[in-house]
Amino acid sequence: MSEVAVAARPIVARRAPLSRFALQLTWVSGSFLLAMLPHLSSIRWWVALLAVTTAGWRLLIEIRGWSLPHRLIRTVIAIAGMLGVLLAYRTLNGLEAGTAFLVLMGGMKLLETRSTRDLTVTIFVSYFLLYAGFLYHQELPWLPYMLVTAWLLTATLMLIHQRSPMSLAESLQRTARMLIMALPLAVLMFLFFPRLPGQFWALPAREQAMTGLSDTMSPGDVSELSISSALAFRVKFEGDMPPPRERYWRGPVLHDFDGRTWRRPRFGYVERPVIAFGKSYDYRMVLEPHNREWLFPLDAVTGWPQGTFRTADFQLLSRRAVSRTTSFAMRSSPQYRSGGPLPKAMQMADLRLPPGRNPRSLALAQQLRATVASDTEFVQAVLQRFRSEEFFYTLQPPKLDTDSVDDFLFNTRRGFCEHYASAFTVLARAAGIPARVVTGYQGGEFNPMNDYLIVRQSDAHAWSEVWLGEDGWVRVDPTSAVAPERIERGLADAIDATESVPGRLFRRSTLLLQMRQAWDAVNTFWNDKVVEYGERHQRSLLERLGIEDADWQELGTALLVSLIAFFALLTGYLAWQFRPRSHDPLVRVYDALCRQLAKRGLGREPHEGPNTYLARVLTQRPDLAAQLNEILALYVALRYGPRLLGSQLTSQTSRFKFLVNQLRV
């Protein structure tokens, strides 16, 4: 009697061991919180806080032996939470609101948990929540987390349904075995579950700032972006790769200048032809999401996939913002000329300069233009000026005042590519040459492990294009005049050694570089083969299996057939695994002998011992006496005799096997 009383009284000093239900509750709450973790970046903080609080509260209730909150309290909290979600997201539908709602309800469910059934419901909510995490995180590094959490959830599920207490380790071990057994099934489902073509599965674009080029460019923008070594896109060429100096990946083309900032106009121009000559390259670009519509084709793009279009200034735009990793097949010709005369409207736009800004630059340009005979010579003269005078290429340019070009050209003289591109374009426009700024990426790192060219944010670049009458638009990269290494070998070699540059570390250590490349190759594989696996891949897989032009019915059949095959194999394997058999090789040989004799109608009765059996056989087949007697003697000695020494055992066993194999009945 006193035992019970003591246990019920809350004594702080003596910690009573947790009851079985409390332990289960701990694991379930923990699993729930782990499943919630992938959503932390997308749900509002108070939703997460509420979930953590309810889980903690519920645990305290269990440990301290308090009673569950009254039904009324729970209802009030639930309604308040629901209203909160409704107010914060303006909806209960949609990805983010839905997730938040799910987290909230999972937490609420914990508050009323009192039976195994409630725990089970929480576990299922957690499964759902965890897999909803894939809507946000399809990157490889998340995968281990998702898998381990799913494993833990399954183990917890097993734990709470065991009648006799079971340790978590044991439960983990068992579920691991189960999950591994289910793995082939998951692979089959992944490969053959019918997928619909098009963007049906596409996720709604999420409003989230992402690194990447924008449609404006102010001094410092590109150099800021260059600090990041985040992946911009990967490219795989079919055949040769263009040399580094031809690797200009064209992004937004900026026409409007306000004296400091370049902008991409909101309107487009009519399509302009591109006259390509020289070599063309086919390649596939796997673009990381940047929530903008432009792609970054190799300049100039001559072939593009459906759903994208080329603008008059040779940008390649997608009809939808790229909100998840997407791959595009493209063709480009680095040697090209833009055809036809420059339309008046474009000429006007690309000559426009903000009135009254950067006066010294304008004066310089006009003066320089007067000294040379042609526009081409003017371009050369300006580049020569950058080359010969004291201009520096740096990632940390000083701040510029309102008339940024003047300030840069005549005072600071230290700049990154956007400074040079901007200054050059202004000078060209001032000299009456139509010019524009092109932003994008230049270069890229080749990964020999999977033959992908990796282009990072640190490869971001800006350059100019000028209209030179006959020649059309000509690319002029003033950065190459100041720092030719940037174009040939990349940023890290072009920047002074005292400045910190992303990727320099990797250039110093081959091992680190290789590790980075390997990691990138793994990521590429993950993205190409798993995340990107869709209707097209499925189709080609089925074609390889001999099913041409599969529709969903055939896919369903293929799935069904493979499922049946899988279960048949599994059943077969289990039957084989648990077949009545002896692990003793001796017995297997003896059984083989019996089977061989059984084919001649001399099968062994189950209750017959070796002596009786072979004696019976010999009455039928006296011709086998010599062989069978030796076999019998060996078998009896090996099976029923005292244990033999190693070498003797081996020799006698092999003699026995030999004799049985030799026997021709």
Partner: protein
């Protein structure tokens, strides 16, 4: 003990010795070699033998022949309804010369005791013998007297359906390692029997082929006969079958399982097997389980051989 045969077992193979013994016994008990070998195996396994059969098939002759052949001291106790325990184990008699009681050892102090028609005596007399068999010693008037070694009891009994019998209870039956039936001789052997010498005269011609020392040594060899895992599996399968099958009132006890293994070990020893074979088990099983396993219902009347064969057929050799 004055024995004409060499006492060192190493000078002769146990198998040969046993074969010689059995051959000699065969001269007296015609056509019963299997039963004779079972007797010897039972003796070697330090068990006691129960022979159940109708009178006149040679039970007493067998016991006598065994005693002669094995060179054992021999006593016969005829069990009758008025037999007292003292008639078996002995009695303390007051001696006038010394003025004290002296214990006069009964017939049970022989090496081979034939308890003839054991089920005709009262349970009281029966249990006196059976206790001596179990304990290998006798306690009288507070003194404990060890029995002879080797000590071997052959009890005969008439079939239970005969008149005037006190059937041995199951617990007492369990004391006997084996129960065998002699049965009628074959026609050919019966003919020889009719034509031949008187069995009693024949008995006088028998000489000992084994010394008690050799017998004791061989008895120590029996538990050492190798019983492999495979064979123990078989024994356990048999035991499990008798416990699980519905046709028996009770399965084999652990003691019965040990008895089965010991008997089979002795059988393997006298047949020169490298270890115990399933066949050894099969050879001794009907005699070992026949009196221990009680079939349910109508099947009671079945003979030990039939019961044993039923068990053996039901259990596959692993």
């Amino acid at each position: 003990m004055d024995s004409p045969v060499p006492t060192l077992i190493t000078q002769a193979d146990p198998v040969e010795l046993i074969n010689a013994t059995v051959t000699q016994l065969n001269r007296v008990i015609l056509g019963k070699e299997h039963q004779l070998r079972l007797c010897v195996a039972c003796l070697l396994a330090r068990g006691h033998l129960l022979i159940e059969d109708i009178p006149g098939v040679g039970k007493t002759t067998l016991a006598h022949a065994l005693a002669e052949t094995l060179g054992l001291s021999y006593q016969r106790i005829q069990f009758t309804s008025d037999l007292l325990p003292a008639d078996i184990i002995g009695i303390s008699i007051f001696e006038r010369e010394t003025g004290e009681f002296r214990f006069h050892k009964g017939p049970v102090f022989s090496q081979l005791v034939l308890a003839d028609e054991v089920n005709r005596a009262t349970p009281k007399a029966q249990s006196a013998l059976l206790e001596a068999m179990e304990e290998h010693q006798v306690t009288a008037d507070g003194n404990t007297y060890a029995l002879a070694a080797p000590f071997f009891v052959i009890a005969t009994q008439n079939p239970v359906y005969q008149i005037g019998t006190y059937p041995l209870p199951e617990s007492q039956l369990d004391r006997f390692l084996m129960r065998i039936e002699l049965g009628y001789p074959d026609a050919a052997f019966e003919r020889q029997l009719l034509m031949g010498q008187d069995r009693r005269d024949l008995l006088a011609t028998l000489s000992a082929t084994l010394s008690p020392q050799q017998l004791l040594l061989m008895q120590t060899m029996v538990p050492g006969v190798h019983a492999s895992d495979a064979l123990l599996d078989y024994v356990q399968a048999i035991v499990r079958h008798t416990r699980e099958a519905p046709q028996y009132e009770a399965g084999m006890s652990p003691r019965a399982a040990i008895a089965l293994l010991r008997a089979a070990q002795a059988w393997a020893l006298i047949h020169d097997h490298p270890g115990v074979l399933p066949e050894d088990i099969q050879a001794v099983l009907p005699s070992v389980v026949g009196h221990r396993l009680k079939p349910r219902g109508d099947a009671q009347a079945r003979s030990a051989t039939e019961v044993g064969q039923a068990v053996l057929r039901a259990v596959p050799v692993p």
